[in-house]
């Protein structure tokens, strides 16, 4: 499909970690030339007989791709139980009726870490159609979701003591996966689009300078035999969530992506792009009272845009003409997390090593999941899945809107443009307590300052609140972290669980750390009434909290 002019990936094998390089070659390599021999009798593997797989068939009843509308609804979402659903169904038999049919005898057997051929094909075609990587020989490889994907990628690229570039606020599980290996993080400042390219360049350039100095020092002053002991190197791996960044909800525009990519080319950095929220991109939040008129227009636009976005617009890897990006896709947010299924898109050199890492980890992903997801996507076809994604995106947009509407009901919201910090350039909503009739004028004035603020997210599942706790009586005495935790606990005691902010800091947070408290609030699975209750409880708790010594 690609023209002659599209390049192949460059050699990036110097990025492979010691562990990755030490992995064996494929154990199947010696067998491959014989595997297609007609009538081959294989007695090499410890494969149980499928005759003894106790599953004769498995079936699934699945929603049709058109299950959710492409235009906003008055009733947004509900519990779902008891709702009338339109479904279609499929059944997978143990033995295939026709060669090539999905079947349990194959799906439930041991398999290479590359998974079922049918699913491989779906994934490769999907990546090719939607992402159109900028080099010819990109490879897709199934994994057990992005946690598995990142874990394998990290240990394929990083040695103990290495450093990873990441955004100053980031997904804590990604860091939890590498910290035990002594891998350090290098937080890069953010703005309203996520990671800042100028800060990235600054960090890498000064590192480069320092490293050169260090190398000179080592070569000149230390005995030659100690050189092998002195490992010192700048970060050469980046972990980034460019769309619906977790926790901030920021989405990077093409220009920024290109800048970051070019810097990574310059400093030879591999980009691991964790992109679970790519298909949950949302139109800007519009306050409720203005929404009806504007939404009609927005959604007309939106319909075209979404369609474009999934076909030709947001081509994540197209900047990548060198094979420098390891892209992580997952079915967790678009089908279900329990699938434990996702995939890499990357150069074949890395894919081969990631496959080896898979063999001694998860092995192949679960066979039930592979047939279930493959059947779903085969039944829906590409166009059906795109239709599903377009509606899904709108569903989450409506949930976001509903939660922000609930905040608008419970608080006084005022808009402004942020000029500093990790939300720079974004439209920010500042929330202050509404005056209470019972309150004296003095009290009501005391609470008139904003107590928190947020940028409506452009993708994903989270509203990232910045807490303005300077007005709290204990602020000077105990600092922001203690107050953040105290407020979080007060909310939990009132039956509301938010994510507390310091978890998401890429730098270590101690009691002495200066900064602002944050909460990450997920609007993705809470029912409408509960959202309203959460917002009003938040106002209640905050009012008490600010009075508290």
């Amino acid at each position: 499909m690609y023209s002659e002019k599209v390049p192949e990936a460059i050699d990036l094998s110097h990025h492979l970690s010691e562990v990755s390089k030490a992995r064996a070659i494929s154990p199947l390599k010696g067998l491959q030339k014989y595997m297609t021999k007609p009538g081959l009798i294989t007695m090499a593997g410890g494969t149980p007989s499928p005759e003894y797989f106790p599953f004769s068939t498995v079936s699934g009843e699945t929603l049709i791709p058109e299950s959710f509308p492409l235009t906003a609804q008055v009733i947004l979402f509900g519990a779902g139980a008891g709702k009338k659903e339109k479904t279609t169904s499929f059944t997978i038999n143990k033995w295939p009726a026709h060669t090539g049919d999905l079947n349990l005898a194959t799906a439930l057997q041991y398999s290479p870490a590359t998974g079922l051929a049918a699913l491989q094909k779906i994934i490769q075609e999907f990546s090719e159609k939607v992402y159109q990587p900028g080099y010819k020989n990109f490879t897709t490889l199934i994994d057990a979701g992005n946690t598995d994907g990142w874990g394998r990628a990290a240990l394929t690229l990083l040695n103990q003591g290495d450093s990873v570039l990441c955004s100053e606020w980031t997904y804590p599980s990604a860091l939890a996966g590498i910290r035990p290996w002594g891998i350090k993080t290098v937080p890069i400042a953010m703005d309203g689009q996520g990671m800042r390219s100028d800060s990235l360049r600054e960090t890498l350039a000064s590192w480069d300078e320092a490293e050169r100095g260090f190398k000179r020092y080592v070569l000149e002053l230390l005995p030659a035999r100690l050189n092998a002991l002195t490992t010192y190197s700048g970060p050469h791996v980046m972990y980034i969530i460019p769309v619906g960044q977790n926790p901030t909800g920021a989405t990077m525009e093409a220009q920024r992506k290109k800048e970051i990519y070019d810097i990574c080319v310059e400093f030879d950095v591999i980009i691991v792009e964790d992109d679970p929220y790519y298909f949950l991109q949302q139109s800007p939040y519009v306050p409720k009272d203005q929404r009806h008129r504007r939404r009609c227009l927005l959604f007309d636009l939106d319909r075209r845009e979404v369609y474009r976005s999934t076909r030709t617009e947001f081509l994540e890897v197209r900047f990548d003409y060198q094979g420098r990006v390891i892209r992580l896709d997952t079915f967790s947010k678009t089908v279900a997390p329990g699938c434990r299924l996702g995939w890499y898109t990357c150069n074949p050199q890395f894919a081969e090593r990631l496959e080896r890492a898979g063999e001694t980890g998860t092995a192949a992903p679960c066979g039930f999941s592979q047939v279930m997801v493959a059947s779903l996507l085969l039944n829906w076809h590409y166009e059906g899945y795109i239709r599903w994604l377009r509606a899904l995106r709108l569903q989450y947009q409506q949930r976001r809107d509903a939660f922000i509407d609930a905040l608008a009901d419970a608080f006084q919201l005022d808009m402004g443009i942020e000029i500093n910090g990790h939300r720079k350039g974004s439209l920010v909503y500042h929330a202050s307590l509404k005056p209470e009739r019972q309150f004296s004028e003095k009290s009501s004035m005391r609470y008139s300052k904003p107590l928190f603020s947020f940028v409506p997210p452009s993708s994903g599942m989270f509203v990232w609140l910045k807490l303005h706790l300077e007005e709290h009586p204990s602020y000077t005495a105990v600092g922001y972290k203690a107050l953040e935790f105290k407020l979080w606990t007060a909310l939990a005691e009132h039956g509301i669980l938010f994510g507390f902010g310091s978890m998401f800091s890429a730098s270590a947070v101690t009691d002495e750390t200066k900064g602002d408290g944050h909460f990450r609030i997920s609007f993705s699975s809470t029912e409408h009434d509960d959202m309203k209750k959460a917002a009003s409880t938040f106002a209640l708790v905050l009012r008490e909290f600010m009075k508290d010594q």
Copy 2:
């Protein structure tokens, strides 16, 4: 259920690797006290709404536990396709009809690495009933099968450069999983029961001696500040497959297990017991012509024995009164490998760290698999699953017998007791070529010596052949490894794939290594006619091969 006298696990936390100790505490720990609050509104996690899980129901049609007989059949096994099967079925809905019902809204959502409550309960009860660990507070923890299980256990216990005790012949994937981390293997000699306790003691005692000497040397001669750099320690982790050992098929008796356990107590070694073939234990092989009479008797015995074995007899962990064994169980051989589901049985100290390791790896095992396997086992009940296992064991025994019968048809088999080497004490079958009428007397004499030999396995899926290649014209010139590979290739060219032996060596094998060639032949999934063809082709190829220069 346990009496007061049964001890609790001892403190073994000094065995945790640096990586394991560096893992965070449970991220859910801070939330736990609030999670059971009635009416709690959770907005902390990135959980999609189950409303958007496109699966409304999943169903399974499963064989009944009595699908295979408990007595030997004349027609043993076939392709399975088109066979009339008795099945029952189940359906899992997205939303539970009653609280506690298995449901997709939960199973396909993110979950802790401990998995679904229903499956946890089944596994805990099963381990308690069948294995009866010798300490009170044993913990079971779901994993994604034994490859995942071993990988996590290894990195929870071992630092880079550490050594693992294992049998001289062992499962190659277990070693492939640790070698990239610079973890070395210490192969222990075997006999007909697997790992030898006397060799184990010898290895550990001499290591202990050497280590004491080394420590003295380090303390006396090196400057104190370098002490931190000198890590030197004996192996403190064992990897062992005590039942149906892979590749040799050996099964350890209780006395040997106890000896090995006691040595591990003495030298403070943690035992990782990989036991996939526990339920595939088989009665001794009886030559075909003697089988009918003896089998009737054997199977009468067998019926009682199997029942006892799964209830009261083979209690793997009961020796373990300290919590020193990490037992690995899998559904791969008893249900299907594609489930990617297994579990640990171990002390709670290790279980907690293994759970943390899971969180950043596979996360929870696949939700489809969890509901499928849980539904199967809930429908079958404990007794049904035991009934299934009893029949399964006999099925694999019949497959083993059929393959050895095929060898007996294609070769001249003579019995003897092995007095040396890794099969010491076992009944060995020596195979020589049958005389060909066309052959001159001289030629026929030349081939009258045994060309390979084997011990019928007592469990599992493999016949482990020792090749006797000394008679090959090139033996002196090229050595055994080249001949093993040449014969393997000749077989592959004739459409027969065996596993080649040097893969299973725990020591590095080079062209210069002295020893014997081996093949591991799996009888677990090959059809009866193919077994016969494999045996006769083997005879044909071997005859040509021995003439070959």
